[in-house]
């Protein structure tokens, strides 16, 4: 059931090409604006600014793309899901799918950043691990918030208002770990941040798993 739900998400996404290209263009536009407004030439930006800009660009694209996971859905669709799957399966499938989506966005963002701005990352595997953990955290928090926001009147505004405070601890950890990586510090200096990130992810996922049935039952 879980697998078929995830497969359904992918099929839906691929069928609506405009959505995928929309997200891609959004990301590209943000990075290009960063590139133009800071009039950055290669290597003329310090590490702290790089990690802050990178995560801000990723954050905005991710909020916009994950927001539609529940908000965009039609009214009758949730009733259909309700009849074929348990709420836990639905939220898990959404979280896994959104993690992959966030991962894709982050990796594409990373490639674009190194193309236009610079690539100060020295330890690529560790950076990818950070990206993976952060994507997981983003998707766990945002899928849940999206489910809450979809039930309200002005869901788009609420999506931003509700998600920002919840996501900021994930974001702070990610920025801190990224800065360690960019400074070229030893791997074990970032382990603290990464284990914390993992712990926060576990808490958020567990809460989403437990609480989602209550949101859904309307």
């Amino acid at each position: 059931m879980l697998l078929s739900l995830i497969r359904k998400e992918f099929k839906l996404e691929l069928r609506r090409r405009s959505v995928v290209s929309g997200i891609g263009l959004y990301l590209f536009a943000i990075i290009f604006i960063c590139y133009l407004t800071f009039s950055l030439r290669r290597g003329s930006i310090n590490e702290t600014t790089w990690s802050a800009l990178f995560w801000l660009a990723i954050l905005f694209s991710v909020i916009n793309s994950v927001a539609k996971s529940f908000i965009g859905e039609k009214k009758g669709l949730s009733i259909y899901y309700y009849s074929i799957a348990s709420p836990q399966t639905v939220i898990l499938s959404k979280i896994i799918y959104n993690t992959l989506l966030c991962l894709l966005i982050s990796v594409v963002g990373y490639v674009l950043f190194s193309l236009f701005i610079s690539n100060p990352v020295q330890d690529v595997p560790l950076f990818l691990l950070t990206i993976l953990l952060t994507s997981f955290g983003f998707s766990a928090a945002l899928s849940m918030i999206s489910a809450i926001a979809s039930k309200t009147n002005n869901s788009n505004v609420l999506m931003a208002v509700l998600s920002f405070p919840v996501i900021i601890s994930v974001l702070l950890m990610a920025i801190r770990a990224t800065k360690n990586i960019l400074d070229g510090l030893e791997r074990n200096t970032s382990y603290d941040e990464l284990t914390n990130l993992l712990a926060i992810n576990c808490i958020l996922t567990a809460l989403a798993y437990i609480l989602f049935p209550y949101i859904w039952r309307s």
Binding site: A141, I148, N153, L158, L204
Partner: protein
């Protein structure tokens, strides 16, 4: 709330004001007399955490057994908690102006507190934007639990990991090292209890107001129907 508890609350807070402003405090550089703010600033945070925890408890109870009463309790404690949080920020800002020379520093604990306030403001925005009463209670209960879990690392974990000016975080010793003769404890512990009881009392009043408003709305509805 029992009457004797109310009397205890008033007595403690009066004692804290008299004792806090008149009793002997350690003579320290920079801090000087501002150390007395300890009796007002720190109890606000203890009170806020306590009130938010009670609000969390009632949100969980609401999800297990949806009654209007637990919903009212969750909102009332969150409201008082946010007032305590704002007072904690303001007293902290005054203190920071004397001790650190500026109202606001980029301290992780300050930022964490500001974000915690945002979380609960978002909670009220969420409540404001759902029409159906039952849906509103359930969604806000879920968000309350979710937000509380996200807030704990912000206030209690991240400040300890990073460098900070605050006592008790970033490897700094807690405030108890300044209080060598334990004289301040004589006022500090009553202050924590007294302020918390006052917060609890205000919340119970809010709960009664909410219940009465609910009742008048019902009566109005019955009259027009």
């Amino acid at each position: 709330m029992k009457t004797w508890l109310k009397i205890v609350a008033v007595a403690l807070v009066v004692y804290v004001h008299i004792g806090g402003l008149l009793f002997d405090v350690p003579r320290l550089n920079i801090l000087n007399e501002t150390i007395r703010n300890l009796y007002f600033h720190v109890p606000m945070w203890f009170g806020m955490t306590g009130l938010f925890s009670i609000s969390l408890y009632h949100s969980i109870r609401y999800l297990r057994n949806p009654t209007l009463e637990s919903d009212h309790k969750a909102v009332a404690f969150a409201t008082t908690g946010i007032v305590f949080g704002l007072l904690g920020i303001f007293t902290g800002m005054l203190w920071a102006n004397f001790a650190w020379g500026t109202f606001w520093t980029g301290d992780p604990k300050l930022n964490g507190a500001a974000i915690a306030t945002l979380v609960y403001l978002a909670y009220f925005v969420l409540r404001g934007s759902v029409d159906s009463q039952e849906q509103r209670s359930r969604l806000s209960a879920v968000y309350n639990i979710f937000a509380y879990a996200a807030m704990v690392p912000l206030i209690f974990i991240i400040p300890r990991l990073s460098s900070s000016l605050h006592p008790g975080s970033g490897g700094n010793p807690g405030f108890n090292v300044y209080d060598l003769d334990s004289k301040m404890r004589m006022v500090f512990y009553p202050a924590v209890i007294g302020w918390f009881l006052v917060g609890y009392w205000i919340s119970t009043l809010r709960i009664r107001i909410l219940a009465l408003e609910e009742k008048t709305a019902e009566l109005d509805y019955a009259k027009h129907a």
